[in-house]
């Protein structure tokens, strides 16, 4: 079995594990005790999913002999890995098992889409993508996407929580503050991703900014999250209003990833979708 098909196998296992986890996390959420046995099992399975996805990425990289984010399939896989990784890293310090269902559900959807719609065999890069700035730029983008996804999950939970659903979750205030901290972490990394992208564009296309659709939406995303931070610090928005700004920011990210990559032609089209 070559590393490419081994990688695929691991992705299938991850999908299976995530599906089981989705059930476990929902059961845990409906149980009474805060850290039930079910939720502990689910957390362990999440660690396993993270390891599988990480290995799947490494094997893709080995197959192609480059960083494993050269096309949309790999980028989507890497984003799922980043989302799970952010969740796991936070879970070391804070008990956030209750967040699990909102992390696993989007990951499951994204993994399913990757396998069914976005899949491409691994292969070398087209020349324009051969650059060490690509590695830096895309790594930063993936990390911040992972963190923004967590913020998105928290925003949704917040909106449910204030409607008095999910009584066992932490208080609405705590969720709100925590989701703000996540943006505080993600925003500078996203800024760096945009800047390194501009440096790469300068060396590949002869201009650092050209309002290419992908660049435009990166800018829009940046502005929305800047507005998120601003509105909190300077005019004291929080809670519901902030949650909605976070959701709008995430819509921009999703739009950039799916709509712009697939339907709009620009310079940023990947090899084989």
């Amino acid at each position: 079995m070559n590393s490419n098909s081994l990688s695929n196998l691991l992705v299938y296992f991850s999908i299976l594990l995530s599906a089981i986890n989705l059930v476990l996390f929902s059961v845990a959420l409906s149980q009474n005790s805060k850290t039930s046995k079910t939720s502990r099992i689910a957390m362990n399975l999440t660690w396993l999913t993270g390891i599988f996805l990480g290995l799947a990425l490494v094997l893709r990289g080995v197959a192609a002999q480059r960083a494993p984010w050269g096309n949309m399939y790999e980028f989507a896989l890497a984003s799922c890995f980043a989302i799970i990784l952010s969740f796991l890293v936070i879970s070391i310090r804070k008990d956030i098992n209750w967040l699990g269902i909102f992390v696993i559900a989007p990951v499951l959807i994204l993994l399913g889409l990757s396998v069914v719609v976005l899949y491409t065999e691994s292969g070398p890069l087209v020349p324009a993508l051969k650059s060490s700035w690509l590695l830096i730029h895309v790594t930063a983008a993936i990390i911040s996407y992972g963190a923004f996804s967590i913020n998105f999950g928290l925003s949704i939970i917040y909106l449910f929580k204030v409607k008095n659903k999910f009584k066992k979750l932490p208080s609405a205030n705590r969720i709100d503050e925590f989701s703000y901290k996540v943006v505080l972490f993600a925003f500078p990394i996203w800024t760096f991703a945009v800047i390194s992208g501009a440096i790469w564009a300068e060396s590949a296309w002869g201009r650092y900014w050209g309002w290419d659709p992908k660049e435009t939406w990166a800018f829009i995303t940046w502005i929305i999250y800047a507005a998120y931070l601003h509105s909190r610090v300077t005019i004291g928005w929080k809670g519901k209003k902030s949650a909605w700004v976070g959701i709008i920011g995430y819509v921009a990210i999703i739009f950039n990833f799916f709509v712009i990559n697939i339907w709009v032609t620009g310079l940023h089209s990947y090899a084989g979708v």
């Binding site: 310090r93 087209v126 324009a128 932490p170 703000y180 440096i199 929305i224 090899a271």
Partner: protein
Amino acid sequence: MSKQQKIKKQRTQTPLPPMNLRGFFRWLWHQLTSMNTALLLLLLVALAAIPGSILPQKTASLLRVKQWKENNPGLVKIFEQLGLFDVYGSFWFSAIYILLMISLIGCVIPRLKVYWQNLNEIPQKTPENITRFTGYQKINLKSNSYKSIQKVLKKQKWRLNISGNSLTAEKGYLREAGNLVFHASLILITIAVAFGALFNYRGTIIVKEGNGFANNLTQYDDFHAGKFFKEKSMPDFYFYLKNFEVDFERGLNQRGAPRGFVASISLENAGQVEDVDVLVNKPIEIDGTKIYLTGHGYAPRIEVKDKNNEIVFSDSVTFLPQDANFSSIGVIKIPDESPQIGINARFLPTAEIDPLNGPVSTFPGLDDPELFMSFWQGDLGVNEGTPQSIYRLETSNMVETGLEELKPGQTWKLDNGYSVTFQNVERFASFQISYDPAKGFALAGAIFAMLGMFFGLGIQRRRIFLKISTKSDKSVMELSGLSKSATHDVGLDINRLLVELKLAKPFKKDRNL
């Protein structure tokens, strides 16, 4: 709330502008630099950027704009007037970001002044009652250790205001500095972008193997320059394309995807000649002007002879690639014959006959090249003075006199006496040449923005209040804290101080959110 009350409330929120001119401008300035306006402008910039990412833009591809207009003739006029095909150069987009910049400048300058004046600011005096602040506690001290407490606080880099038995310690002054640097850098980046747009130039050229290019305006196929660009300022270089090499993926997976391009050129600048390679992602630079390799294609060499066997045309012709497998189209116009001659041609580097679509190219490399041609005679329409595309044949006043396909080396003899020979295939490379004098400033702005953000977001302003009271031989310390941001727990700072004084154990982190 009744309607009247509502109106009253609005009045108090936004007072009407004063009637005199000075007052009016002050009012306007105040509105513009208010936080609400800044936020509104931020969201407006984001919204205004959207149409340009969905509609085709002139700055990206004139061709696609033209196609869109042909498909939606009804909307063209309004869209054109609104500048929707050049959103990022339109008056309304510029208006929004100029307002945002004014707002930003109006924000930064007063804060800079305040920051400067308070550079060596000492924390405010300790309030009378410190029990109402965060993490208030009372601790018995064995001996009077006020001096050693101050020492520890200094070691932990707090700024102190000591008055008698009470003190205020404050930390996190770099936050404001970071924020100011960040916002000022945004201004620098915007100025660099605007300045670059006025003085830059950018052009594309197509160079066939064995041909050359001299850097002056007449040689460009396509050229954009800023308003203040001067032709004199262009560096005076010349290069000659010796060889262009390209490598395609031959494996089944991603077959035909490009794997490497190398354009070997011989460059002449300021009397010196050197051989250099231009690669994708590796431009070469001459006096601030950069040469990028951006694309390539085929240039079949074609010879046309008349019935007396005299050559009427002989050249390699650049063909425009149409798809990933480089099926390409090209046109030959021979206006000096009568009737005039035009040839419409399609070149396939690896030709195969598809049962549905006819001849197609199945691989971008030169595995089995073939040239499909139609020969036209009549009026080319080139004499009417309207500029024509060199890649399009205007056939409305012409008749087709033959169709043929050729492999390299083959000759096609037409009934009308002409003969067309497909001699061989050469390659061309396309280059982008660009110059932007302000991009170094934009980069500097970006780096400072990152640094500023690091401090502006990472550092929190917070205070510790501390009081010592001594009764007979016993001392009691009271302390509490205040954080300016909701995300920072000043209790941690208090704990850190107490740990250093050996008065407490480090907190165990609370796993609950």
